[in-house]
Symmetry: C2
């Protein structure tokens, strides 16, 4: 099901700044039993990301009306929300009084092999390096050519995800996921001040460090440090948490912390 500005019309104007410039933001969420998991956190991110780009984010209640329509049609699904700056004249300058465009799209829950969660995943290291752009870092905006190029470096279905480094060769994330490493009693995730997307599940895992009895660290991560980790996790709002089992010639056994994190996330799905 697709709603554009609340209607079941399914078209975007070619002059929409989302189409012209990728001038907008998005979120991808899971709906179960007609409810978006962690909707409050997702809306907060949507709002904050819009604010950073200077886009007027519609009120939560506006999206909630859209989500209610979606839920009648698809009670269990993936929901993607896109908000753009709206229809534009030619040229980069944004008009002040423009109305944002909102699109809400549902799609079927993904059919990842169940062993991705239970046994872990095989990943690769992407060649593409993420560029440093502090003005856009952390935002889930619509300029995603880096992720498209990186994801299209491989088509082996046995490889579940690709890991991305930045232009100074620090580990940042997967193409569609955030990254954590566990070593000794430390939960470490890359700093996203220069590039990357700060996802809702990343926030939730960071917030769970205390409950897990781990020290949270946010900083720069070298590949050698990644390879030396006890456990490496990938996360997002669709996949939940996957442990990395294999990266090139490196192997990891099933960890003790990953199942604890997964259990905490599943216990607190509001």
């Amino acid at each position: 099901m697709i709603l554009v500005n609340g209607d079941t019309e399914t078209s975007i104007r070619p002059t929409d700044r989302g189409f012209s410039y990728g001038d907008g933001i998005f979120r991808t969420m899971t709906m179960r039993d007609r409810r978006i998991i962690q909707w409050q956190r997702h809306y907060r991110k949507l709002f904050d990301d819009c604010e950073r780009l200077g886009i007027n984010c519609p009120a939560a209640t506006v999206f909630e009306a859209d989500l209610a329509k979606i839920s009648l049609h698809d009670p269990d699904c993936i929901v993607k929300i896109i908000v753009t700056r709206g229809i534009g004249a030619r040229g980069y300058a944004a008009l002040e009084q423009v109305e944002p465009t909102r699109a809400v799209l549902s799609s079927t829950l993904p059919s990842y092999p169940s062993e991705y969660a239970t046994e872990g995943v095989t990943v690769r290291l992407c060649d593409l390096r993420l560029a440093h752009q502090p003005r856009l870092a952390g935002i889930k905006h619509l300029n995603r050519l880096e992720q498209v190029m990186a994801r299209n470096e491989w088509n082996d279905p046995a490889i579940a995800e690709g890991l991305l480094r930045d232009e100074t060769d620090h580990m940042i994330s997967g193409t569609m996921s955030n990254l954590f490493v566990i070593r000794d009693r430390q939960l470490f995730t890359p700093d996203l001040a220069s590039c990357g997307i700060a996802g809702v599940t990343r926030d939730r895992i960071m917030a769970s460090a205390v409950q897990l009895g781990l020290d949270l660290m946010v900083g720069q991560l070298e590949l050698t440090e990644l390879l030396a980790a006890d456990e490496i996790l990938l996360c997002n709002s669709v996949i939940g948490v996957w442990q990395i089992r294999e990266l090139e010639e490196n192997r990891w056994i099933k960890g003790r912390v990953t199942p604890l994190i997964r259990a905490l996330l599943e216990k607190d799905d509001d």
Copy 2:
């Protein structure tokens, strides 16, 4: 007038990868007397940019049929062509057999003050620094949030353009234009291997160096070198060539080379 895939339907599907990810390229061109100025060069860039992103560029004849329709409606106008990878499933991976989407949009010729060409323009220095992404550098792709953010740093209508530096503080371009400096007998333009868009008018001016009796140089340009130039030019396929008259506390008198370049461009508008 707007054509999407050749039809006067004016809608883009919200699942188009151009809208989801900015996964596409564009060109902005001038049509005069029903003909696109420098169409062959524009098509070549369109094709090459599509190839770099792995998008199947439609044949020139396909666009020429669209342009013929546009020309009957708007004999003198600005034409923007957008080509995206096409409709996508959720996720960054591109399906191989997808048909690209093409949109061709006309708009009225811009009404820049005539003294911009005759007397020069006032410009500012933008705060935003362009990120280094060699995999995307030079391509006129749809990920243009950097330009949107930079262009929205000012709204003083007396300022015609903003100059952009990269993350290592080298001068790269304007927000919508390429940059040349003339000093002694040298025509210098920034190297675009790490960021920036390599425009058609930039190519044409580079190719004119011999006729102008100037040595062409492509490389890194510091702000101090820019400020020391005899003449500074901005160019694109809509504005043609503007000389910079004023940048913060710096002033330049009308140059001798700028009018020669403009005359060469106007003489050879095929």
